[in-house]
């Protein structure tokens, strides 16, 4: 299994926000959900994607010339990549002297990933950390994800799985058996909203929740708090009740304030961002929603993430 390849778009060392201690987070590419607020738009499509950073481009046209598919085009707005024709071969990225073209997504075997992340083992040991599989949805590439988890376990490294709960038959069960900690992303407990916002029925998350509870695997629940979507008392109360009833053993429930840092990434990928221009939440809002969550039964609710600073734009 260790030679099974995965498409990974980032391996983040010294990661402090994806589980206990110091960690390395392995971001798998491809996700079954289509949340409009997604912070990592480059994580959604399963195939590698080339993006262009205009600020670095020297406009020498070499990338257009080297593309075997003729997918790289130079126009009035700079370089664009015809996604339909691009095969992700990476010739343009390898050429670009200025690193203005970047490939989101590299094929790596589970063994390669393991060998890379195991190098920080001393830091995991000393800090009580380890490796987190995140994405995208790591379980959308089940063979590689499970293979990596197995290798990490063999090396004695703490493994956290960050998942939206949606996976193929039997995959989640197997993954839970290999994980020391699961980070479950729970967006909303309202079936209609869940389907409308993520494109996936809540039932599937519900099923995952039951499986996690039965397995009694250590669990942290994470809920994005997004203006216009989940950032209402109603929504948060619903999620909190879901956690209290279906996931009673959750050790933590993190409410993650919406972040707009991804705006530039949407532009690079040539996709519209549904929340373009929407301001950050106020810290007071997060505080209140956190109280609502606790009052509704999610006793370990806490919040983090960027919030609005008064007069931010003026400085």
């Amino acid at each position: 299994m260790s030679d099974v390849e995965a498409t990974v778009f980032s391996i983040q060392q010294f990661s402090t926000e994806d589980g206990p201690g110091l960690r390395t987070t392995v971001f798998f590419k491809g996700c079954p959900m289509r949340c409009p607020w997604c912070h990592n738009p480059e994580s959604i499509a399963p195939q590698p994607e080339v993006v262009w950073h205009g600020g670095r481009c020297l406009n020498d046209g070499g990338c257009v010339a080297v593309c075997p598919q003729g997918a790289v085009e130079s126009g009035a707005d700079g370089i664009s990549v015809a996604r339909g024709r691009c095969t992700g071969c990476g010739d343009c990225v390898a050429y670009c002297p200025a690193s203005a073209l970047e490939m989101h997504g590299t094929r790596m075997t589970a063994k390669d990933i393991h060998d890379r992340v195991v190098r920080d083992a001393a830091f995991y040991e000393e800090s009580g950390g380890g490796v987190t599989l995140s994405g995208g949805e790591p379980l959308a590439q089940p063979a590689a994800a499970l293979g990596l988890m197995r290798l990490l376990r063999e090396s004695g490294i703490h493994v956290a799985l960050d998942t939206c709960g949606v996976a193929g038959e039997g995959v989640l069960g197997e993954a839970v058996g290999l994980a020391d900690l699961v980070l479950l992303d729970l967006k909303t407990a309202n079936p209609a909203n869940h389907e409308a916002w993520t494109g996936v029925a809540l039932d599937r998350v519900d099923k995952a929740a039951r499986l996690l509870t039965e397995a009694a695997v250590p669990l942290w629940v994470r809920t994005p708090v997004v203006p216009g979507y989940t950032a209402t008392e109603n929504e948060i109360a619903g999620v909190a009740r879901f956690v209290a009833e279906a996931l009673p053993h959750a050790e933590r429930h993190d409410l993650l304030a919406y972040s707009n840092l991804c705006t530039a990434k949407y532009a690079q990928l040539g996709r519209p961002f549904a929340l373009d221009g929407v301001p950050l939440l106020f810290p007071e809002t997060m505080e209140r929603l956190c109280e609502v969550a606790r009052a509704s039964g999610s006793m370990h609710a806490r919040w983090s993430g960027p919030t609005r600073v008064a007069e931010a734009a003026a400085s």
Partner: protein, 798 residues
């Protein structure tokens, strides 16, 4: 580097504590009022009055390239301003080392002003002098010839960016515990016994000089006792009582052994202050060593006997704390922008392990950290020694202090790595645990070691330039190095490597030969008998420390620009020889043009070659190879006059700036003038995998090659330390760093100002990571509005 954005509670800037006593608050305020206070410890030159006299030592300052132009002006103006000290005719019949001791004695007995500042509990105020070299006409003429030859040669070497050298004072730890234990009296007795059995005239002279110098210290203390008594009579109340106590103390120490904590601090300060005086040097690198260890018995005994309360001890420490800062007085009035601009590194060492790896942290360790925080001064600068058995409480305290600071209030020293490094230069196994750093992070033994830790500074990027251009300096066209093979005719990497190694060896030997001149001039003409009396080995060897009298004698060659050199060689190997993506002719032509019109090539060099600092074994091996090449050769060299052995270090101070314009464009994509890399850190912006990967890269260099230790600086986001959970993560990082990292680590917190700089110069900060839960982005890739928002958020925090 990463900036994590999160809404933690805002921590205040690290500023002086509101909890300071009235006394220490006033002293502190007075200290900072450079332009209005009456008392100033500014340099006082003293001369024998002979027309050939000299009161300035070139080789003390030739490692400061910015000063080179002015060396003669300093020499002349100090000589012109010097006060003539009347001397008996018999003075001139004495040998040089005795004359120096007698002159020192005259100064301390009659000329050095004695000031006691209001409220002080530890006294000793005026110590900044330029003392006569006490040479006779004949000696002066010969010395001038040698010193002048050295000055011209070192300036020439520095002017083309090779590096610099000098016989630098300070940068050692005198045996202060011996002064506390035995007093000057004990040292004088020891020297006296040696004198009784010594028949060699030269050795007898040295011992006589040591005795004269220590007795002079006693005389100065007596003058302080006298002034304290007088002041006590003139004032009343509680202060009179304090001054009577000061008078009593100065009547005893440092001549007698210290009996109490207060006596120990008073003895320590006077003994230390006179080291600065005797070397005519404001104190850079004269370090205190493991002060929490050797002061603890006095503190403990006083507590047990009820002689002092913890609060009283704290107040005494505060009074002690401000004293080393007066070394900056000569910089204080240079204007708001040019004022005090770097610390002198009168280091104190806290915590650390014992002989069996056990932890030696004690109550004084914590008390001193607390005093450091509330006083908030540049000196004394603590180094905290961490190791496998560092207690969680100290680790938490260290992380908490880092979290509250903007720049790190202290450096962290890692015992296991430091001891491995020192083992390689032959420090006895049983003594390794008791090392301490001097200056910034340069590891030495305590009390008997002069390792000349900043004597030679070697620009490792210069041999890259010389290898590319057959030994020619690109700016002047002068043939500096050997005429190595023409790179354009090389077919294999090993040929280029051989050319680089030839130039590397040439540059190293040139600097070492130059430094041997400085070492000789100091050994022959500039003895410092007072310091010698305080350094182990000098009495036993009956030899002055400048002549190699200390038990351990090294001269450290500090490598500058390691990462710039490594990345440059990596680019040549990878892009020119392996991939053949870049031609040697094209590369050389671009470097000659300083990349003018060659941005495509420059970007290729920046982006398409492996870079040191990312835990990439192939790339890091280049830094290790370069290190081995020069450090092994350095270790084979010895200074002929003093027998001091050369050893390697990676403290690059600020030479990455000074030699930036004097080093041609380099194949790593750096144009002439852009800063060279610092210490063992990656080239700015080239370490893209965070602090753990950077730490492992640094560790891969191998501390065995670098006995002196290696400077490593990393930047962390304030949000990494925003709450207890994150402080624990930082502690975990430090414990991991102890296993894979440098001998010493400086941690800076990234503030709004750094983000602002990154916004303005994105090229310099391509790796600045902004991170929130489950998301990361490079700061420089974000749109301007979002950048503004992040900057505003960070501004609000501080």
């Amino acid at each position: 580097m990463s900036v994590q954005v999160s809404p933690s509670s805002a921590e205040g800037l690290w500023r002086a504590s509101a909890g300071l006593s009235e006394r220490t608050r006033r002293l502190r305020e007075e200290y900072f009022s450079f332009n209005t206070r009456a008392f100033r410890n500014e340099v006082m030159p003293f001369s024998t009055g002979k027309p050939w006299d000299c009161v300035f030592r070139y080789a003390s300052w030739t490692i400061v390239p910015e000063m080179m132009l002015f060396l003669r002006a300093y020499e002349d103006s100090l000589a012109a301003a010097a006060k003539t000290v009347p001397l008996p005719e018999s003075f001139w019949r004495e040998p040089l080392i005795v004359r120096v001791a007698l002159f020192f004695s005259e100064i301390l007995r009659k000329h050095l002003p004695v000031d006691i500042l209001e409220g002080e509990l530890i006294v000793g105020a005026q110590f900044n002098v330029a003392l006569s070299l006490c040479l006779n006409r004949h000696e002066a003429r010969r010395r001038k010839k040698s010193a002048e030859r050295f000055r011209a040669a070192v300036c020439a070497a520095s002017d083309v960016g090779l590096g610099n050298c000098g016989a630098v004072p300070g940068h050692l730890i005198p045996d202060y515990p011996k002064v506390l234990r035995l007093g000057y009296r004990g040292i004088v007795e020891e020297a006296g016994e040696a004198l009784a059995e010594e028949s060699d005239p030269e050795k007898r002279d040295a011992l006589r000089a040591f005795v004269i110098a220590c007795k002079a210290g006693r005389a100065l203390a007596a003058r302080y006792a006298q002034v304290a008594s007088q002041q006590a009579k003139a004032c009343g109340g509680a202060r009179a009582e304090e001054l009577r106590e000061v008078a009593r103390l100065c009547g005893r120490v440092p001549w007698e052994p210290a009996a109490t904590f207060h006596e120990a601090l008073q003895s320590l300060w006077l003994a230390h202050m006179l080291v600065l005086t005797c070397e005519s040097y404001p104190g850079a690198g004269v370090s205190f060593g493991r002060i929490d260890q050797y002061l603890y018995p006095y503190y403990e005994a006083d507590l047990a006997a009820g002689r002092v309360t913890p609060d009283e001890a704290r107040e005494l420490l505060r009074c002690f704390w401000i004293k080393p800062n007066y070394a900056y007085d000569y910089q204080g009035r240079m204007g708001r922008n040019q004022g005090i601009n770097s610390s002198f590194g009168q280091l104190i060492t806290l915590s650390g392990c014992g002989p069996d790896g056990e932890d030696l942290t004690n109550d004084l360790t914590y008390l001193m950290l607390s005093v450091m925080e509330e006083m908030n001064l540049l000196e004394p600068k603590p180094n905290v020694r961490l190791h496998a058995n560092t207690p969680d409480r100290l680790m938490r305290e260290v992380c908490r202090l880092l979290a509250r600071s903007q720049g790190a209030p202290f450096l962290l020293n890692f015992d296991e790595t430091s001891m491995r490094a020192l083992r390689s230069e032959g420090i006895p196994e049983a003594d390794l645990w008791d090392y301490a750093p001097v200056g910034c992070l340069e590891n030495t033994r305590q009390g008997d070691d002069r390792s000349g830790t900043v004597d030679v500074n070697f620009n490792l990027a210069k041999p890259v330039e010389l290898a590319l251009f057959q030994g020619k300096d690109l700016a002047t066209g002068r043939q500096l190095g050997p005429r190595t093979a023409d790179p354009e005719h090389m077919e294999r990497w090993v040929d280029f490597e051989a050319a680089f190694r030839k130039q590397l060896s040439f540059c190293l030997r040139r600097l070492v030969e130059l430094n041997n001149q400085a070492d000789t001039v100091r050994a022959v003409y500039e003895p410092t008998p007072y310091l010698s009396a305080l350094v182990g080995g000098c009495i036993e060897n009956r030899r002055d420390i400048t002549a190699g009298g200390a038990r351990f004698n090294f001269i450290t060659v500090e490598g500058v620009a390691l990462a710039t050199a490594a990345d440059s060689l990596l680019a040549v190997r990878h892009l020119v020889f392996s991939e053949k993506r870049v031609s040697m002719a094209g590369l050389r032509s671009a470097l000659e043009k300083n990349f003018e019109g060659e941005e495509l090539l420059r970007q290729t060099l920046l982006n398409k070659a492996p870079k040191y600092g990312n835990d990439d074994e192939t790339a890091d091996a280049m830094a290790r190879d370069i290190t081995r090449w020069w450090s092994e050769e350095a270790a084979s060299l010895t200074a002929p006059t003093t027998g001091r052995r050369y050893r390697a270090g990676y403290l690059s101070w600020n030479y990455g700036i000074a030699y930036a314009p004097l080093t041609a464009a380099t194949p790593d994509g750096r144009p002439r003038g852009a800063y060279l890399s610092n210490g063992v850190a990656a080239v700015t912006g080239m370490d893209r995998h965070g602090p753990t990967a950077a730490a492992r890269s640094v560790a891969s260099i191998g501390p065995e090659a670098i006995p002196n230790g290696m400077s490593h600086t990393i930047s962390l986001s304030p949000s990494l330390v925003c709450d207890e959970e994150h402080l624990e993560k930082l502690a975990g990082f430090l414990r991991g760093y102890a296993r894979h990292g440098s001998t010493a680590l400086q941690i800076n917190m990234i503030g709004a100002d750094t983000l602002r700089k990154a916004q303005q110069s994105p090229d310099q900060y391509p790796n600045l990571l902004v991170r929130v839960t489950g998301y990361n982005a490079y700061f420089t890739n974000l749109g301007r509005e979002i950048q503004e928002e992040i900057i505003a958020r960070e501004s609000q925090r501080s």
